[in-house]
Symmetry: C2
Subunit: 249 residues, 2 copies
């Protein structure tokens, strides 16, 4: 059972933060490689329209769908029309009060934000290593997506349980501004941003600095401030608005 335990959820979010940073550092070892993102230039037989990046993401999610990944609440797919799972997945019970986890799916915005981030962590130019670049891109956006949706769902539920009456009234009134105000804790956000910046530095301190490519801690901090924290909050609001609703028959 995944219980509404704020300490546990906060720790899990910290762990996911380390994964995101490690993935970004991995991606930064390659150049920006613009052709990998250009539709129609994948060099993939039988695939005229998509970019190599979009194709890799599609293939990855088709495989993941077969293995049952998207039965997990915080694993939301970037693609539609994925195959059904081929695996019997038994997941632990959880405390979430939505039946369709996809009511919180921010993958479109996550994708846009990430493509905007690539030029800020990768050196300009083309090293022809498109396959490795998009492989790391996919692992990175999956880790970002997991962090955002995990936070959105479980922190959303925990906040609700902390004051059901106040949240319930705002939900019933469809009052998004009040929900946003209730969910915003500037001191917590500042602590996360500071910790992320420090972690980027620590995780790179083991690297041989003269040759291994490093990323700027401030860039990751700014990405958290501009996207990860706001999108998590947007997801919390989506969760709350849909909380307790029965699915369409």
């Amino acid at each position: 059972m995944i219980t509404p335990d704020l300490d546990k959820i906060a720790t899990d979010l910290e762990g996911l933060e380390e994964t995101i940073i490690a993935r970004l550092i991995d991606r930064a070892q390659f150049r920006r490689n613009p052709p990998a993102y250009r539709p129609g230039e994948s060099g993939f037989m039988g695939e005229k329209d998509l970019s190599l990046f979009a194709l890799r993401l599609k293939f990855q999610e088709e495989m993941d769908a077969c293995f049952g990944r998207f039965a997990v609440p915080e694993e939301r797919p970037f693609n539609a029309n994925l195959p059904d799972t081929r695996r019997m997945v038994r997941l632990p019970d959880n405390c979430l009060q939505v039946t369709d986890y996809n009511v919180v799916n921010l993958t479109g915005k996550i994708l846009d934000s990430y493509l905007d981030l690539v030029p800020r962590i990768c050196a300009a130019g083309d090293d022809a290593q498109y396959g490795s670049s998009v492989e790391h891109d996919v692992y990175t956006i999956q880790s970002i997506s997991r962090r955002i949706h995990y936070g959105a769902l479980y922190v959303g539920e925990i906040k609700y349980l902390s004051d059901p009456e106040t949240y319930g009234n705002a939900i019933d009134a469809g009052d998004v501004d009040t929900l946003e105000a209730l969910l915003t804790r500037p001191s917590v956000e500042q602590r996360i941003l500071k910790r992320v910046e420090e972690k980027v530095a620590v995780l790179q301190s083991a690297a041989k600095i003269d040759t291994r490519i490093t990323i700027d801690p401030e860039v990751v901090r700014a990405y958290y401030a501009a996207y990860i924290i706001p999108l998590t909050k947007e997801g919390e609001i989506l969760y709350l608005i849909n909380r307790g609703k029965l699915p369409d028959p």
Copy 2:
């Protein structure tokens, strides 16, 4: 062009070492989960024989093969009978003097060594998160395999070029013992082992120690000593024995 530059290759190997450690830490967040490794218990429709781990590795490599991964010298497949690439891959030239990179393929031994390592980095028991466990297993063994084959191929070539006559004589005589002695540098190996142990500690120093699961630096050091370094050397010998040979017609 990937040139026989020992500094560059050594730096790349250091980078790959960080990736291996990060992947091991990711895997250690889950329990050992024995059912994920038991043949016939994958819960996967239409798949009666393989374990979930073996299936995940097979699906991953089938996807990777479509994207051209195994055209890269250091990316050697664990599975046979993979599909042909669907992608036109243009790789940089390299300095290697074998035409079939698969003459150096140590994936069987890598797989065995990794399955032996899992109980030493993961807590005993079953958390039912089999899908995540095997996903991380696959990323981890791919990173270990890349490290070993990259070292085997490029260090093999560099060592040869450092003394073509001595190496050439040992190769012509099929004298594996002499090759092994020529390739062994205890002081370099000790330096790698010390660095690996320190890096495990550094990479975990950012973690919240009371809840995030950590791995024992000594276990990773021992794995390097027992497998990664010896298998790299075994691969260097395979490379040298096959160096310059033309493929079978």
